[in-house]
Symmetry: C3
Subunit: 497 residues, 3 copies
């Protein structure tokens, strides 16, 4: 029998407060033309002015229920839920270090400062943008029937609603602060994926402005379609922790950038892709392991509560990573004769992305296989991109874009109904089927179309506004570290060239 | 008065389900002879086939007690126990990054990719093997009077038993998923230790196959003797978090490999050990600090519950690390005139290994001293191995093997009776004595004999099956990164040679 | 209306036991003159002798209330409080890795081993010193009216008081072990900050002895003035997590060292500061991200309980880091034309230090702005130090000293009254005012004077005792790695010189 699968619900308790002052963003949108290089950064100097203009107002305190009003089970659940999500949040934020190390390690040393600076700075920006407007767009009140949400500017951290929720006997009563920070870290992840795709040739300031648009508007709006109970959620779409919502959105956003930028100088000679090996495999490996443990916040944290299922999600996540690593290693050994470390790394990440949507709708065997197939896919996806003449320096689209789609649709192939740790086998007999598969494909397609269209517009406007998004040929050859930052990553070491 | 010490009990609540399908492993054992290099890896391609053959069956759901059925203290304990063990698990998994950085940093740059790839891939394998059979062998039902356990293939994550346990008022009611992942991470640790001992000369594929055997069979079987209530546990053996069970087993397994491999080219000239300095002290230091915090999962996590003793175990662990660091630094300064950073690192690790067995049976002063003595031992153990002509590139046997034994027997010297944070002094007056010392020595010896015998067999079979476990002289001189992986770790930097 | 702000109270439940044996420290203070280089280290060999002399005594067990005696809300609070603080502690300890990477990355490769060794070893020492006497000096019983505290040697981990506290219905009932480890990690942080300021020219052994004095005496004594309810606390001083108590103390202690040492050879030519770029920006970036997540233990952990405010403190901390990063990036782009990665890093750290005192007394907008101003300050502080001829190789005084003061006084400018997550705006209307500002300035001044005076004495005595604290000109030119440790950090790589 073919039945549509049930997604474990994502809970939300944080309610944003109405804020009537809307003049601020006008300031932010004021254009400042004609700057020299890095004008994107200087543009940012208007942010604090805007904040000052908006920030001077106040609310009366509203907390009435305290911790001591909770009964034993209420206190236990409230404290465990909030503690767990906070720890999950820290793990997701740590993924910034993972992305920075993987991307930097897989690029050439002459661009290391640039990619490190992008990864480091983007999280600061993403948090600011998400605090200012992103969280409201993603988790605010509906203003357009499941397609658009908004609740005023500036996230409001008042925890009184969460305590009232707990006192009413509910579970998953998260204080807004922890929900905000968890979601902001997800927004940052999407932006970080972009960084890898446009590496070694994008201008720093222009990338920064794009990241701001992505985390403030593009990501939150489409995220609300599912995680704020929007139209995709109504259709029964399943994306537990964001294979589509976070990873494929990041992948598509970066792919458009990579296509508009064109390949790096020397990447394609007579239409054939040339190897441009990364400069530091130790950093890349470290980054992969940091991402692996960061995913224990990303996926199990998306349960948005502490319960008997959190560790189960961690096991599905782990087995998918293991399956991806094994597949990519075996396949790359079969195709190239030797196990390529970058393929082990990308296999792990592919496995992790492949289970991100379905980590609550898979058996253990199904999880391992979802990851294994992801590991196979990533090896071939890298080749396909190369043959299409698209230059993805660190394999980010193959990992996050392609496996993000795979992780979304595999739920229709061998997902099981809801979170059921007692289900075994690979799930072929348990659920899924054509209706689930169609909804999953629809969702993956919707995220692709939305991101492609909005990011094409965003990259294009930024390009025409600031005079292009790509550095000069001279600067690219010399390296972006000197060109964009005036410094070197490793000045004490002699180059092999 | 001489009394035998009591070990704080390790609790188990996860019960594996019976699975009757046993045909799978036959597939895994089918030999595939005559491959070219890295045949070990290709051999792995049979794993998914085996899994598919086995995986398509299902269970009925069994959960009857839910979180909402728990009373206040039950809910508080259940949530805290499971949350804490999950966090401890993440910390232990993070140790993979620590081992990778320490081992890579202490090897030469021409072998960095190889050692990174080994560390990264081994955890993926260990988790797969432990899921498939290892957990069942370690924590299944007894089938041979305290010497062998088994409960069918494939770990079963059904959490209903844990909820029933909690509803019955017990503590330490862990969902199987978190217990599995915690134990799988321990299995991975044992394999990672081996990696350091055989570094810079072992073939990649052959090492991988050995790791699979170690984590699937050798480690789980001997682990069950103590942690599944086996014969050593019955004798009163104490090994709280695995000085013997994990660290000395990993040490012995690697030592046999190192002895069978023989020393690296150039390590001994006229019988005298030559310095072969590691290529990246920053990575090694980072790895040591990651391992340090990972140990807060390893040791306090082994309490397998959240209670008033968890932080106490963290303090004994910390003080032993501090004692080890101080001892190794002072001794290496006294013997060589200057404090050697690799000795500070190994001193810290020696201190940590030295307290791993006794972290729940020591006073604080006793812990600091156990670590201090471990730090003295490690400096001299490195010299002794050198004088025996055994090449241990990163000092792994000195740290994990020798200090693993020391950490096991010190409980007989100045351990105290059970977990008693109010005990002070170094414990000479509190407990221990000759009977405890004998049991501890017996246990350490049992793990040594078991591991030496089984690993000698395993390494030998792998060697004769695949045509040796050591790379060619040519490849070793050129570096395993080119030979085994066809890539360099740092292609942009000029070599000093 | 101008009112003095209320600080959220820091709770203490750990009570140290009286210990009458005081003979031990006499051994420690015995002078050992006339040693060769690294005599500071050999001096440490007396520590275990002293410990043995003191350690052999014992207490009777005192635990009477167990976990099972707690009601539901009591158990929930007790477990969550202790679990959260333990996790926070691990995060703060992880900051050692962050400091090691930032400081090593920002120094030259020839001094990398030295700075890594200092950072690694100092935590081992700090924990030992804090266990021996520091914790007693900081959290013991008053012996001089709010200015000096002491409770005997050796920290006592007996948890029975915490259980009794919980059984009495209180919250924040921490077992002494977790409170000790959390506080010891803070002590280590102060010492680590010093390491950056005296980098690339201080003798290893002499630095080690200074760190011992700092963590055993100087830091604990002044820390007690506020966090043990001392005279500053009585005045209403607010320093939630240690902008002054930890960061500015570490900054001042290092500044005195840097001034006594003088600048590195070649730092100033004709009075003009020369760029001496760090050797590894990847490590520095990684370190910054590790410190960022470590701060989630540092600040939210200082709530010393798990409640609805923990995540709120994490959000104020995050927004300040973001504000600092944006400010430093924009300002450094405006002043030098390009965004300097070291300035992004220092901007993040400046933002974090700037919110450390006020993270419980700020609105979100106020937090972002406090960090933003910190990010502006740090850029200019670096220039001011340069113009004063003071050589701070990694900008540690600008970050920890200057922003530590800023973070302390900003509470008087736009702090709000107590922990009120429902307060919005930047707080100008909510509280603060001249009396708060004066108390904050007084506290910042008191920590400056205390640290300057005691550290000047300590550095001077160490210098005259051991024959100077600075390495020879020859050694400095060759690098401290060879001079102090007889090894290189990266022996396989060719130098660019």
């Amino acid at each position: 029998m073919t039945i549509a699968l049930q997604s474990p619900p994502r809970r939300r308790t944080a309610r944003l407060q109405e804020v009537s002052l809307l003049e601020g963003p006008m300031l932010l949108l004021k254009s400042i033309r004609g700057f020299r290089s890095n004008q994107g950064l200087i543009w940012l100097a208007t942010v604090p002015l805007a904040l000052l203009g908006l920030g001077v107002f106040s609310f009366a305190a509203r907390a009435e229920v305290g911790l001591s009003d909770l009964t034993g089970p209420q206190a236990a659940t409230f404290l465990a839920d909030n503690l767990w999500l906070f720890i999950a949040t820290i793990l997701v934020i740590f993924m910034n270090a993972g992305f920075a190390m993987v991307e930097a390690g897989m690029c050439r040393s002459k661009n290391a400062v640039n990619i490190l600076a992008k990864n480091l700075f983007v999280f600061a920006l993403a948090v600011t943008a998400y605090w200012f407007i992103g969280y409201s767009l993603m988790y605010g009140d509906s203003i357009a029937g499941g397609w658009l949400y908004f609740n005023g500017l500036f996230f409001d951290p008042d925890p009184s609603g969460a305590l009232e929720c707990a006192a009413a006997g509910d579970t998953g009563c998260l204080v807004p602060a922890v929900d905000f920070l968890f979601q902001a870290a997800f927004a940052g992840t999407a932006a970080t994926i972009v960084s890898g795709l446009v590496a070694e040739r994008v201008k720093f300031g222009e990338f920064i402005v794009f990241s701001l648009i992505l985390t403030a508007f593009i990501y939150p709006i489409s995220g609300s379609w599912q995680w704020n109970g929007g139209w995709l959620s109504e259709l029964g779409f399943i994306d537990f922790a964001g294979s589509s919502i976070v990873h494929s959105v990041g992948g598509w956003a970066g792919l458009i950038g990579a296509m508009l930028l064109g390949p790096r100088i020397g990447k394609f000679v007579d239409g054939k892709a040339q190897a441009m090996p990364g400069h530091n495999m130790a950093l890349a490996t470290l980054g992969a392991l940091i991402l692996w443990i960061g995913w224990y916040g990303f996926n199990p944290g998306s349960e948005l509560a502490m319960d008997q299922y959190v560790a189960f999600v961690a096991v599905t996540t782990t087995l998918a990573a293991a399956g991806g690593a094994i597949a990519a290693t075996v396949i790359s050994t079969l195709t190239s004769g030797k196990p390529d470390l970058t393929m082990i790394i990308n296999g792990i990440l592919a496995g992790l992305v492949s289970i991100t949507a379905g980590c609550g709708n898979m058996t253990l065997t199904g999880s391992w296989l979802a990851g294994f197939v992801g590991g196979v896919i990533v090896v071939f996806a890298v080749s396909v991109l190369d043959s299409l003449g698209i230059d993805d320096p660190v394999g980010a689209f193959s990992v996050h874009g392609v496996c993000g789609i795979w992780g979304t649709v595999v739920i229709g192939l061998w997902g099981v109904d809801g979170m059921d740790p007692s289900a075994a086998g690979i799930g072929l007999l348990n659920g899924g089927g054509i209706s689930t598969l169609l909804v999953q494909a629809l969702g993956a397609g919707a995220y692709a179309i939305w991101t492609i269209v909005t990011c094409w517009i965003a990259w294009s406007i930024i390009g025409s506004f600031f005079g292009g998004i790509r550095v000069s040929e001279e600067e690219e050859t010399l390296g972006l570290d000197i060109g964009e930052h005036g410094m070197e990553a490793y000045p004490d070491f002699a180059s092999s060239n």
